[in-house]
Symmetry: C2
Subunit: 304 residues, 2 copies
């Protein structure tokens, strides 16, 4: 749908001057940690501050299978009657990199429409989820005690993108152990990270918050930490820096798409098909195929 | 590390003529379904056929946090003493699209080294996992009864990439229900899919296998289904077609990377930085920034 996408781009251009005002909070973590319930709690707090709240839930599923997602959405039912809360599910299946782009667009639209706080929920797995988390100014990584072994593996890569760690379901056995292990990880990270990062970490020490989202315990503390992180970003100049990183990543992604489309359109018909057949037949390596297209792998030469 | 990557590309070119002989089996599904144990079972069967077996486990975690993954690897301990079984973990964090590329390279190396069967394990979430699953000729999607609600959501997008559905832990309560619901999904899919796909589905009806990997029940049936799928692919010509699809996707990914690198290298210094600042300051939309770089979003015009 290049045409539809083009139209969407036009609409977003029109909205762009009205954006940049919303505060974006990313909420990520493995399944079973209670992210949706936690988000409902946060939404109620921000509603109490008379803000319109947008919730974007990125579900790792195909658009064709809405059924499985109803469970999650049902948990947000108590917010459903509030016209100032907008909830939208996005599916992650599609073209590579497309989700981050689409989620970004959804955030822009809500931002322009005056939603002061936008909560972005992802199941914290895979690179797209990390890319989406980076759309947020404050990233909460949510964990819970008593998850299985392979759930543990899922969260291993998440800690390093956390601005705030949340141990939810903190009324369960094993909470102290989970909290303690995160505190140790954070101390180790502070000691071993490269210098740049260490400087930042001295200014912002990632806190470990305990919550029980089902009864609201710990939520006001968590919100105070989110406020504190926001102040830190503003005062340190990191808010601008983060936004620039996000914009750079978005421009590079759009460039990759546009450059490929332009390149393919400029090829003689059947050229790529022929190379695909020869590479599949092991006559040619993928890199030799690129050379036949006049592209060197190094690229940075600028030669071709 | 463009230099290292360039060297790796050279080595892979050297190996390429020796590849294309291994049979690649993808094993994907949500956490908690027992994929690793199932893979151990399959590895033993193929070892019994006097084949060297390669196992590539793609873990959704950062390279820096090996600890959390040990649990999974421990379950493969009984294979660890066998020099004809090669096991390798890959981490999914890194540049977008990078995992699929790296996993593809690892598969090529094992293929060239004479590993007749290569098992590729991914936690079935996100687009990268789907891209990796597509490296395989036969894709097993693994489920189990009694998983939680949000685990259910994780698997929603997976069914459509399955060549064989496996309900593991089939000694648990609720197995019949899971099997029955998959059979219904498959019947619905056969009725509603677009024509092309329906033709293929008439030739290959996705079977639903029941296994208990911990005691080996159902494994020989599953292996028979894998053999049957392989024969189907060979006789229908779909084996060649799948390989061509994979090669096309790989070439496009390499092109995207190379074209962006070449484009950025050709820009005047500071040009992109300046645009990033202006887009961040909402002076310019991302699409206007692309226009300033001489790139139109439509791309397919071939203009500018």
């Amino acid at each position: 749908m290049p045409d539809l996408r083009h139209k969407a781009a036009g609409l977003l251009s029109y909205l762009y001057p009205y954006t940049g005002r919303a505060y974006r909070i990313g909420v990520t973590g493995p399944p079973g940690t209670g992210k949706s319930t936690l988000i409902s709690c946060l939404a109620r707090v921000y509603r109490g501050r008379h803000q319109r709240v947008g919730i974007i839930a990125v579900d790792p599923s195909s658009p064709s299978s809405g059924g499985a997602l109803l469970g999650d959405r049902v948990r947000m039912r108590d917010l459903a009657g509030d016209p100032e809360v907008f909830t939208r599910s996005m599916a992650t299946r599609g073209a590579l990199g497309g989700v981050a782009d689409d989620t970004s667009s959804a955030v822009e639209v809500l931002d322009a429409a005056g939603y002061g706080t936008i909560l972005i929920e992802t199941v914290g797995v895979g690179q797209d989820e990390v890319a989406i988390a980076r759309l947020a100014q404050t990233v909460l990584v949510v964990d819970a005690p008593g998850l299985g072994d392979d759930i543990q593996a899922l969260k291993a890569g998440l800690v390093e993108i956390a601005d705030i760690l949340v141990v939810n379901k903190a009324d369960r056995d094993g909470t102290d152990q989970v909290v303690h292990s995160y505190q140790m990880v954070m101390e180790m990270a502070a000691a071993t990270h490269p210098l740049d990062d260490r400087v930042e970490r001295e200014l912002w020490r990632v806190p470990v918050c305990q919550t029980v989202a089902t009864d609201g315990s710990g939520i006001s503390d968590l919100v105070s930490w989110i406020d504190a992180h926001r102040s830190y970003l503003q005062q340190s100049g990191r808010l601008v820096e983060r936004e620039q990183q996000r914009v750079r990543a978005e421009l590079e992604m759009l460039l990759r798409q546009a450059l490929l489309a332009r390149f393919l359109a400029g090829l003689e018909p059947g050229k790529l098909d022929g190379l695909v057949v020869r590479v599949s037949g092991r006559e040619l390596t993928p890199y030799q195929a690129l050379q036949e297209l006049g592209i060197s792998l190094e690229g940075s030469d600028g030669e071709s």
